[in-house]
């Protein structure tokens, strides 16, 4: 344990100054938090309006014969102001020597630039350095040289150049004539320019080119020389000095980062929205596999980065907001094979308002996330929320989106034969109920036929059952945000309201989020930041999922095709009993479900964050942060009186609260040594505590019918739900750079876990990464603007065991009238053999990559290759249930992911009023389960209703194999039939993985004058999906593939059990039985899950704004937005291959989820 000595010292230090109880900690947290809020509020009132100025801000700086560029960079670092200067110009000036002294920034710059032709100007947080007297154009020079002998007839073009991002004028921008680059000038201090245009261009349209360092060149087509031009410059989208947010919220220059990190800007998430913001990442980031679930509004999302890394554990990333983790555990898991009150209660990430997001950084690899230790083995999604900015007055932003949702897909059922079983129409009400879900009747002929309710109706196709049952969903989101700030304090306050009326009738979601961010600079060295967010989320009648019980979608899809779904309404009779429409009491009447079942959950959530930063020295600061993600959850689910499968009803009440508390202290030291080396060293400690405390009460059989109260149940069980875990950590990192050419970063973290045995409760996670800026080191062809190579190695871990898993314990049976005791079960009710030797698994990642820019930054490439191996994975080895237990957790699994990610960005067209940008991503991940427990070849992940198919992790194969039964064939490939003509069930085989290994996306954006248009197409392929919908549609005669044989019987030709030729004609009366039997040959219903979708379309218009009275409208954008508009390609019939409904590891199964929707509407963004 030599390597841990330094950490041991840390531990000692930390131990001496620690306090004890969570309560005191919470008190402190809240006191600290409110103090900061209070102080900042005071300051806010006092000083709003003024701004940070280079006239007042001071820096301490000196220089000894160093290049001007370097001095400017130092000033940039020290002052916090971003510098923009013409690199090619400043090289010519001599080196700078300057006495070390504290001066204002303005004074410092004056001194340095004293003997140059350069001037400077402050804009907001930028300092622009430009040439005082731009060189005269070649035309003008020529004029001087040759005197009056050659004279252009000149006309003058006037214009002004502004920064697009803050509307300030641009001084020192070069303006030249595209047709003759020799004709040029530069803008003055107010951004204005005058360009003399030679006569020969005056008569027709010509273009000018405006350029400024750090900004895209703008080409403007000039058609009228007399009209003053306004040119806006946009920052280079992936400028070389782009800054990205990395682990712990540390900002780094992109070129210094030795691993793949992808950033998504908040404004990409706010126009075409998703109720769950995680779903909006779909198709946006290479290597991130997002599955939005078919569970209705407010449901969960499943995000897996670079493949599944754990066989049985959590495979989703850690979500971190402003550097501190939040809790993303789904409230209750949705299972794939149960029904009743089986709903998706949503996850933690859905509580973040996209309007509050400044950016999302996706840390994909182990190195990127190594500083987060055990929790980051599946990657980290880092969310940085918006802050206020120094500005005059209070800025107001308003974003409003209204969308409508409709089912995106209507199944292509057969509409030739109607209800019935034997090729005939039903003749009695009893038969109409018995065959209520069978479409094996006679040909539809419009005659009058009795139905389930005794009423005779025309025997005609009902093609609109889906349209008629579901509502048009409506989602209305409104966010208003106020920002403001002074040089001391900035704030941003936002309030958001989301109102969603789901497509399933009576299902609504109402979500309100208020977020306040305050940051202040209290004096020169102290700065504080506090964020408080409060969510209230009410969800009514989330739809039941999985099996038919209480599932509104089941009957809607499976009702016989000649019965109008609306005739089932309202679903209950005069006595309140469910109206039966089919022979199984378990296939609940859809209207009974929506009208009588009740599901209600309320989430109250508080996310608090506070940080204090103090500069001990110019290059040494200390930062302390605390955060608390607190959730209070209340759920009531009611199976009503009169339900066919539970006539006396049932009630389930779950109340609990969770708290995820993190506190962290870091020290950061920055120094320069050996002339060209820079070092940034960080060390810190973190403590994480997670508690869950609550009660679950399940009652059944209401004594007084229809009175739905826990006080009214005949039987009830109350279970305490409690768990508490803690992880203490110390960590350190050191970043070195040499001449901004070579970067090296090493990190280490040691975690101590409360859930492990005390004698072996800690693990160390190291990482190292580096990058090399090839384009700075050697001279590359001019068409290569930038080239960076990077590489990294990390060893992280994850999946620390569940609490209380070390020793066998016993529990009293709750609610018993006599004392009864039993062996303690885990949260899922399973008996797990305790294992005191368990430790978190280890995940090793090697990653290499390259970033390049070509053709004047018009084409960009980012490539990553990685290989990640999880060893010692915690596998709940299935033990024989007759051992008294169901599983034993063992550190024995091994799983590997290797893959490639590609990001291409391009700008094929760039004209003055028109531009076209393309972003393309591609990713491929090869997953292999390499080892399970000794003698264990497969590990069960989940199963479908009736276990028609199951999903396994299998040794030697990609994770998530769907196992289904084949059709039995003899050696010659002939189908084997049973004596009664049924196809025989063959072997249980692997059909492939339910997780798509490959994904691709392409985004095209077009800008034309005030219009912008973009669309995103994405696709996944290489996976399989089992469709329960199709299996049941086959059983019930809705599939077109069940049509053969309906008129004259189905002739079969194959072999019997003894390989003897077998010919048989299934009589018409047995056709239903023949096709029903195919449920035993489930491979018929496992399809290729590939798809390509038109995921998103935005058509926007920047409305010209006028000031309305005293209100100054800065911008107004109106967009048409659409999500999931079209499925361009798919193989699976009748379903959307993305219709899974569980966020769990058993991916690749579909069955009667809430129909996936096409959503379209309008978005309005206004800035005041």
């Amino acid at each position: 344990m030599q390597k841990n000595t330094a950490f041991a010292k840390w531990r000692l230090c930390a131990t001496q100054i620690c306090t004890h109880t969570g309560f005191r900690f919470l008190m402190k947290l809240s006191i600290c938090y409110f103090t900061i809020l209070f102080i900042t509020a005071q300051l806010l009132l006092a000083k709003t309006g003024s701004s940070q100025s280079i006239k007042d801000e001071t820096i301490t700086i000196g220089a000894k014969n160093e290049p001007l560029k370097k001095t400017l960079k130092k000033i940039e670092k020290l002052s916090g102001f971003q510098m923009a200067y013409p690199s090619e110009k400043i090289i010519q000036y001599k080196n700078v020597t300057l006495q070390t002294e504290t001066r204002t920034i303005e004074r410092t710059l004056r001194l340095i630039l004293d003997n140059t032709d350069l001037d400077f100007k402050q804009f907001d947080k930028k300092i622009i350095i430009f040439e005082k007297n731009p060189p005269k154009s070649r035309a003008a020079e020529a004029e001087n040289v040759q005197g009056a002998t050659l004279k252009y007839a000149v006309g003058e073009l006037k214009g002004k150049v502004y920064f697009d991002d803050n509307s300030n004028p641009v001084p020192g921008a070069t303006v030249s004539l595209k047709e003759d680059p020799g004709v040029g000038t530069a803008t003055d201090n107010s951004g204005a320019f005058k360009l003399s245009i030679p006569d020969k261009y005056k008569e027709k349209a010509f273009s000018i080119v405006v350029a400024f360092i750090g900004y895209n060149k703008e080409e403007v087509l000039v058609t009228n020389i007399d009209a003053p031009l306004v040119v806006r410059l946009k920052p280079v989208s992936s400028a070389l000095n782009e800054v990205v947010v990395t682990a712990l919220g540390i900002k780094k220059e992109r070129k210094a980062v030795g691993f793949s990190v992808t950033e998504v800007k908040g404004d990409e998430l706010v126009q075409a929205r998703e109720v769950n913001v995680a779903n909006a990442l779909e198709g946006k980031v290479a290597g991130v596999n997002v599955s939005s679930l078919a569970t209705g509004p407010g449901g969960s999302s499943r995000v897996v980065i670079r493949g599944s890394g754990s066989i049985a554990g959590n495979n989703q990333p850690l979500y971190v907001v402003n550097g501190m983790p939040i809790d993303n555990i789904p409230s209750t898991p949705t299972t794939t094979n149960s029904g009743g009150l089986n709903v998706d209660n949503g996850d933690g990430i859905s509580g973040i308002n996209p309007d509050d997001i400044e950016s999302i950084s996706v840390l994909k690899g182990g190195t990127a996330s190594a500083l987060y230790g055990s929790r980051a083995s599946n990657g980290v999604i880092l969310i940085t929320t918006k802050k206020g900015a120094t500005q005059r007055g209070v800025g107001v932003e308003y974003n409003s989106t209204f969308t409508e949702e409709t089912p995106e897909l209507i199944p292509d059922w057969q509409y030739e034969y109607g209800e019935g079983k034997f090729g005939t129409k039903v003749t009695t009400q009893q038969d109409a109920i018995s065959y209520g879900r069978l479409s094996y009747g006679a040909k539809l002929d419009g005659s009058s036929v009795i139905q389930f309710d005794g009423v005779s109706r025309p025997y005609v196709a009902q093609k609109n059952n889906i349209k008629n049952f579901y509502n048009t969903g409506k989602t209305f989101t409104n966010t208003v945000a106020f920002t403001g700030g002074s040089d001391v304090l900035n704030f941003r306050f936002s309030v958001s309201d989301l109102n969603d009326k789901g497509i399933v009738p009576n299902n609504t979601l109402d979500k309100k989020i208020a977020n306040l961010n305050v940051n202040a600079k209290l004096g020169k060295n102290l700065s504080v930041e506090a964020v408080g967010q409060y969510n209230v989320e009410n969800n009514l009648n989330r739809p039941g999922l999985g099996d038919a019980l209480g599932n509104p979608n089941w009957g809607t899809y499976m009702i016989a095709n000649s019965v109008d779904i609306r005739s089932l309404a309202p679903g209950y009779d005069a006595n309140g009993n469910e109206i039966l429409w089919n022979s199984s009491g378990f296939a609940t009447n859809p209207y009974f479900t929506i009208n009588r079942f009740q599901q209600k959950d309320t989430k109250n959530r508080f996310i608090g964050y506070a940080s204090v930063k103090y500069n001990l020295l110019d290059n040494l600061f200390i930062k302390g942060r605390v955060s608390d993600d607190y959730l209070s959850y209340e759920y009531t689910g009611i199976t009503p009186t009169g339900t066919a499968y539970a006539p006396q009803g049932a009630i389930s009440v779950v109340n609990y609260n969770t708290a995820e508390i993190n506190s962290e202290l870091t020290l950061n030291y920055n120094t320069r040594f050996l002339k060209d080396f820079n070092a940034n060293v960080l060390a810190g400690g973190n403590q994480q505590k997670h508690t869950l405390n609550g009660l679950e009460v399940d009652g059944s059989n209401f004594n007084i019918p229809f009175f739905y109260s826990l006080s009214n149940v005949n039987s009830s069980v109350t279970l305490p739900r409690y768990s508490k875990t803690a992880v203490n950590s110390v960590f350190a990192s050191a970043d070195f750079d040499y001449k901004s050419i070579v970067y090296l970063s090493v990190t280490g973290r040691n975690d101590w876990f409360s859930t492990l045995s005390l004698d072996q409760d800690h693990i160390f996670y190291p990482s190292v990464s580096g990058s090399f800026i090839l384009s700075e080191a050697v001279k590359l062809p001019s068409w290569i603007n930038y080239a960076k190579l990077r590489g990294s190695w990390a060893q992280v871990g994850g999946g620390a065991p569940n609490p209380y898993g070390i020793n066998l314990t016993y529990t009293q049976v709750a609610g018993s009238t006599m004392p009864l005791q039993e062996i303690t079960r885990d949260a899922n009710g399973n008996l797990v053999i305790p294992n005191s030797k368990l430790k978190p698994y280890t995940s090793q990642t090697v990653e290499v990559g390259a970033e390049m820019k070509f053709f004047n930054n018009r084409l960009g490439l980012d490539l990553a290759l990685y290989n990640r191996s999880t060893i010692n994975d915690i596998v709940p080895a299935n033990v024989d249930p007759l051992s008294g237990f169901t599983s034993a957790y063992l550190n024995i699994g091994k799983i590997n992911n290797k893959g490639i990610e590609l990001l291409l960005t391009g700008r094929p067209v760039k004209a003055s009023h028109f531009s076209w940008d393309v972003t393309y991503t591609y990713s491929y991940n090869k997953n292999t389960v390499e080892r399970l427990a000794a003698g264990q070849n497969s590990f069960f992940l989940g199963t479908s209703v009736n276990s028609y198919v199951s999903v396994y992790a299998e040794v030697g194969k990609p994770y998530g194999q769907i196992q289904a039964y084949q059709l039995k064939k003899d050696a010659q490939g002939r189908t084997v039939y049973a004596a009664n003509g049924n196809e025989e069930q063959g072997n249980l085989v692997d059909m492939g993985t339910g997780v798509a290994p490959s994904a691709m996306s392409i985004t095209n954006s077009f800008n034309y004058h005030r219009f912008n248009f973009s669309f995103l197409i994405d696709g996944k392929y290489g996976n399989k999906i089992y469709s329960g919908t199709n299996l049941y549609a086959d059983r019930f005669g809705l599939l077109k593939s069940t049509l053969p044989g309906r008129d004259n019987g189905l002739a079969l030709n194959g072999v019997d059990d003894n390989d003897q030729p077998f010919t048989y004609t299934v009589p018409v009366s047995n056709i239903a039985t023949f096709y029903d039997n195919r449920k035993n040959i489930s491979s018929f219903f496992v399809y290729d899950g590939s798809f390509i979708k038109l995921r998103q379309v935005i058509l926007g218009y920047n409305v010209p704004t006028k000031n309305i009275g005293p209100i100054r409208i800065q911008s107004l954008n109106l967009s048409f937005v659409g999500r999931n508009l079209l499925i361009l390609y798919k193989k699976a019939p009748n379903i959307d291959p993305e219709s899974t409904f569980t966020a769990g590891n058993e991916q690749g199964m579909e069955m009667f989820g809430v129909p996936r929707v096409r959503s379209y509407g309008l978005n309005l963004m206004v800035k005041f």
Partner: protein, 513 residues
């Protein structure tokens, strides 16, 4: 300097909020809702209840009761026992059985090894035999010597013991445990839900169980059977109504406190609003069973069965009139017309959460004593006929425990015995009469009824022949192992199959050869 000082202050402040003490880890990782060592009596109570609590409906009513035609079911999904279809329900019940009652009673034994606990140990050992014999009777070979040792010895994949070895050990266990009782030592007292810790009663229960197990061996090893039967009779079995083993239940608010038969039947079929028609799973009494009682004018019929009278359709009422009772045929595939007019359990007796559950009664011991006498193994005072009469009488008396609706007067019992006296005849005829009565009395202890039928062949049942059945149209002879055995304990499972025969419904267990 001031700066540094301020920094240190700040650092300590934040550090205070960052307690990285490890010392509270042990406390954090202690579940406040669990205890680290068991309270043995409470575990024993649970083990007693759990012997009857595991999937009663799916494993007995829906399965075995169809084999032996106590019940009939018209559906395919729940009528697998009725139609001899393969299913995993009995297997699921086996898993639940091992993970609850077997595991719990084994823990009780593990924690009762100290000398002062000898009576507790004996009670636990006898109960473990009771629990285990029911499972081996259903499946044959099973993990026994290595069962439920996943935690204690990390035996994740227990070997299967031959049923012959299991029986030998169970009989030895009974003998040893009974001998070990010591009246001067403590018992489980009121935590013993069966006998309140009464040692005398436990001895009688132990010997009665020995009688049952010994008699089970008559086909495979008559000599050993005789030895154990005689030992049991000599030791003293339950003969009086007051000594019978009955689990009593309370209404309570959780199902574990309630009669599991009532809980499962109400939950799966006979809810308060079903009125004989809206049954969830679709079970009715078999016409084989109803016809037997009805044909003999058996007074139990009105105690056990009702039909629903729909004279006033808005208020259907249960009707216990014997003449109106009607059983449903086994092997149906669709709901018969007038479904409500078929007999089902009487809500006034059977469908009560507080109803008793017959564990082992003097009806059984008397029938077995009758058989022992017939075989010449019983040197007691009675005759075959007297034990038969005592058995019938006990079987009718028992229903009084179900409340007023279950009381059958002595006069009625006497009249029944007069009308249906023990007729004697050949050994086979006597066996048929004894064991047909035994079958009639064992309604709801489907496991035992199935075992007795397999051993004796009585009553004579006519199998149904549903197209697509999995037993070649014969009444099954055992349950199939759980699917989880095939997937997790493959090698040991295969060894058992090689020894015992294919894992089919039709394979005979060792004592049923």
């Amino acid at each position: 300097m001031k700066k540094i000082y301020f920094g240190v202050c700040l650092m300590s402040f934040v550090a205070m909020m960052t307690p990285s003490c490890k010392k509270d880890f042990a406390a954090i990782n202690t579940d406040p809702n669990a205890i680290s060592s068991p309270t043995v009596p409470y575990l024993f109570s649970k083990a007693e209840l759990d012997a009857f609590n595991a999937n009663y409906y799916a494993s007995q009513i829906s399965n075995v009761a169809g084999f032996i035609q106590h019940f009939a079911n018209y559906k395919l999904t729940s009528g697998f026992g009725d139609k001899y279809l393969t299913n995993n329900e009995a297997g699921t019940a086996l898993d639940a059985y091992y993970q609850n009652t077997v595991s719990e009673i084994s823990d009780v034994i593990r924690y009762s090894k100290a000398a002062p606990d000898v009576n507790k140990l004996s009670q636990a050992r006898i109960w473990r035999v009771y629990v285990m014999h029911r499972m081996t009777d259903m499946f044959g070979d099973l993990p026994y010597s290595q069962a439920v040792q996943g935690y204690t010895s990390n035996t994740f994949f227990p070997v299967y013991d031959a049923q012959s070895a299991i029986y030998a050990d169970m009989l030895k266990e009974l003998d040893e445990a009974i001998q070990a009782f010591d009246a001067s030592k403590a018992t489980f007292g009121s935590a013993d839900l069966l006998y309140g810790g009464n040692i005398t009663s436990w001895k009688k229960f132990g010997y009665s169980l020995m009688l049952r197990l010994g008699m089970r061996l008559t086909k495979v090893d008559p000599a050993t059977a005789q030895t154990w039967v005689q030992k049991a009779i000599a030791g003293g079995v339950i003969v009086n109504d007051t000594d019978i083993a009955v689990m009593k239940y309370q209404s309570g608010s959780i199902n574990l406190n309630r009669n599991p038969i009532a809980v499962d039947l109400i939950g799966n079929d006979y809810s308060a609003t079903a009125y004989g028609l809206n049954l969830i799973e679709g079970d009715k009494y078999s016409d084989t069973y109803v016809n037997y009682l009805k044909g003999n004018h058996d007074p139990r019929l009105s105690v056990i069965a009702v039909v629903w009278n729909y004279t006033d359709p808005s208020n259907p009422v249960p009707d216990t009139t014997a003449a109106n009772q009607k059983g449903m045929a086994n092997g149906l595939t669709s709901q018969p017309v007038n479904f409500q007019s078929y007999s089902e359990p009487n809500p006034a007796t059977i469908l009560q959460y507080t109803a008793p559950l017959m564990v082992l009664t003097n009806a059984e011991t008397n029938f077995l004593l009758a058989e022992a006498t017939l075989r010449g193994w019983n040197t007691g005072a009675g005759t075959v006929a007297s034990y038969y009469n005592a058995g019938v009488t006990a079987a009718m008396h028992q229903w009084a425990l179900f409340g007023p609706g279950g009381v059958i007067s002595d006069a009625k019992i006497a009249a029944y015995l007069t009308a249906h006296p023990f007729t004697g005849g050949t050994n086979d005829q006597q066996m048929q009469q004894i064991h047909t009565q035994f079958w009639a009395s064992l309604i709801y202890d489907e496991y035992e009824s199935f075992s007795d039928w397999r051993r004796t062949g009585y009553p004579v049942l006519t199998p149904v022949n549903y197209q697509g059945n999995n037993s070649n149209g014969t009444i099954p002879r055992r349950m199939m192992y759980p699917l989880s055995e095939i997937s997790t304990n493959t090698a040991n499972y295969n060894a058992a199959v090689v020894r015992q025969g294919p894992d089919l419904l039709t394979t005979h267990v060792w004592w049923d050869k």
